[in-house]
């Protein structure tokens, strides 16, 4: 029986045949490749939603910070120091140490003394806070961060773990790894072993070792078009399939590194089903050692897709969650929590 990776060629045929004159007109107006808009209509089901999504991608995201309690035990101290510099901050309701910047201060956020002292991590959108919160590691966990650089989620998990337990942070990219190492040091993180290697080799080095794992997979970034407008035109469907294949390999290796009963959080900053539901579906289909479980987040996120261009997806995939800029005020994002059996 052909798998979900193979089904992507059927999907591509159906995408092409769904490109109507309206799709082409909207794509041209907003500056997108037509096939992308055809997919958004399939995912969201209504033109009203598609236009809201495209308009949301035109808006800037507010910057946000996560105060680092590993360096400043009293988060209020960092907030007060930033207020003195002219910043106005509002708390993020679902992440107790994070704040949205509603008014900038006199010094850029990446150049304050508080930043250099490791007082906070700087985000370009709130959705990056979701994966660590969803995985919820504690000080008794052994965590794999399988695509760790530049370290926002690694340092976030270290903070949630109170600086105890273990995180093995793996990434292959040399320049991004420098940023990871620098962020770990700046933020005073001491429960991380950082390894520059291909994450697909992690099971060979560690075997089944980890109680939790995060794979915030490298992706095409189809959820962060606000941050990089070139993404409207730079990704071909072949690029998506290539990304999907790599993501499947990374997710399989991540699952193989986790002990039975352990959890794997798969996420991307993309709303492309090819990188999201199809990746999870391919791994579910080829392994009976893993299942999708509900994500313990008290946020009204959208369920994973049950079907895409006539290709039915496994039931469990609907337990994954989608984040849309026009509905949630964040970057487009995908989250899926898997339990290893």
């Amino acid at each position: 029986m052909p798998g979900y990776t193979e089904a992507l060629s059927t999907v591509w045929d159906r995408i092409r045949s769904s490109i109507s004159s309206r799709v082409e007109e909207v794509a041209s107006t907003y500056g997108y490749l037509s096939y992308m808009v055809a997919r958004y209509l399939e995912i969201l089901s209504s033109w009203e939603d598609v236009l809201e999504l495209l308009n949301a991608f035109e808006r800037e995201l507010p910057r946000s910070i996560r105060v680092n309690t590993l360096r400043f035990r009293n988060p209020g101290e960092v907030v007060e120091r930033l207020q003195v510099l002219g910043y106005a901050l509002t708390p993020v309701p679902w992440e107790r140490y994070s704040y949205t910047v509603v008014k900038p201060g006199r010094v850029p956020l990446g150049a304050t003394h508080e930043f250099l002292l490791g007082g906070y991590y700087l985000y370009r959108g709130l959705a990056s806070l979701l994966p660590p919160v969803a995985l919820n590691p504690t000080g008794s966990d052994r965590v794999l961060d399988a695509a760790a650089a530049p370290g926002g989620k690694t340092t976030h998990m270290a903070q949630l773990m109170g600086g105890r337990g273990l995180i093995v942070a793996v990434d292959v990219d040399r320049e991004r790894f420098r940023a990871l190492r620098t962020n770990l040091e700046r933020m005073g993180v001491e429960n991380v072993v950082a390894l520059r290697m291909d994450s697909r080799l992690v099971p060979k080095v560690f075997g089944r070792f980890f109680t939790k794992a995060l794979l915030d997979a490298p992706c095409t970034g189809e959820g962060i078009i606000q941050l990089d407008r070139s993404r409207k035109v730079k990704t071909s469907f072949e690029d998506l399939v290539r990304a999907h294949r790599l993501q499947v390999e990374l997710l399989r290796a991540t699952v193989e590194s986790v002990v039975p009963g352990g959890l794997v959080l798969y996420s991307t900053c993309s709303i492309a089903p090819e990188e999201d539901e199809f990746t999870v579906a391919e791994v579910l289909e080829s392994s009976d050692r893993v299942e999708v479980v509900d994500i313990p987040l008290e946020l009204d996120l959208m369920p994973g897709l049950g079907e895409y261009f006539g290709v039915g997806l496994p039931d469990g995939v609907r337990r994954c969650r989608r984040v849309y800029p026009h509905k949630h005020g964040m970057e487009g994002f995908f989250l899926c929590l898997l339990r290893v059996l």
Partner: protein, 196 residues
Amino acid sequence: MPPKGTVRCRVGGGELGEEVARLFGAGALRALAGYVPMYCWSSFTEVYLLREELLEAVDRVLSSGRVPYSAGLYAGRLRRSRPRFIPSHLLVERVYEALGRYVRALEASEQGVRVVLYGRDILRLSTLRCFEPIEKGEVVSVVGTDGRVYALGLSEVDSCSELERLRAEDVVARVIFDLGWYLRGGTVARERKYRV
């Protein structure tokens, strides 16, 4: 940053303790309690402090023929020439916490801290207080009035009393690392970490 070339690492050994005791006194060893040092060397040696929870993972990495890029708390750099040991600002803060006082430190004014974070040296003008022992050519920390360590330098004086005869614009310590490095050189640009 791991030293260039073939890097080797080992877990355990007394060199770090010896250097910490030499610089800050035996009481400073309390800052190392609960940790095992890991040394990674090539042309110089980087030292990390590992909690017990990290040891098994590090052992698996080393057994596979790989070395960690970093692990645990970065403690500093051991060198063949003077200064023999450059502690990280994180370690220095922990030492001060363990001792309950500053040693080998210069307390800088707000303006002084601002200038130091641009990589400039610490001048007499900006030095509010000095904490012994201070030795010429040896590591000294630059602390702000908020108690945080903002930079590490090499002292230009042999004791705090020498500050009295310096002019306002005289250099008290030549800065070899400041937190501004995280902005200037810690990510993409390749500014050397220590200017020594």
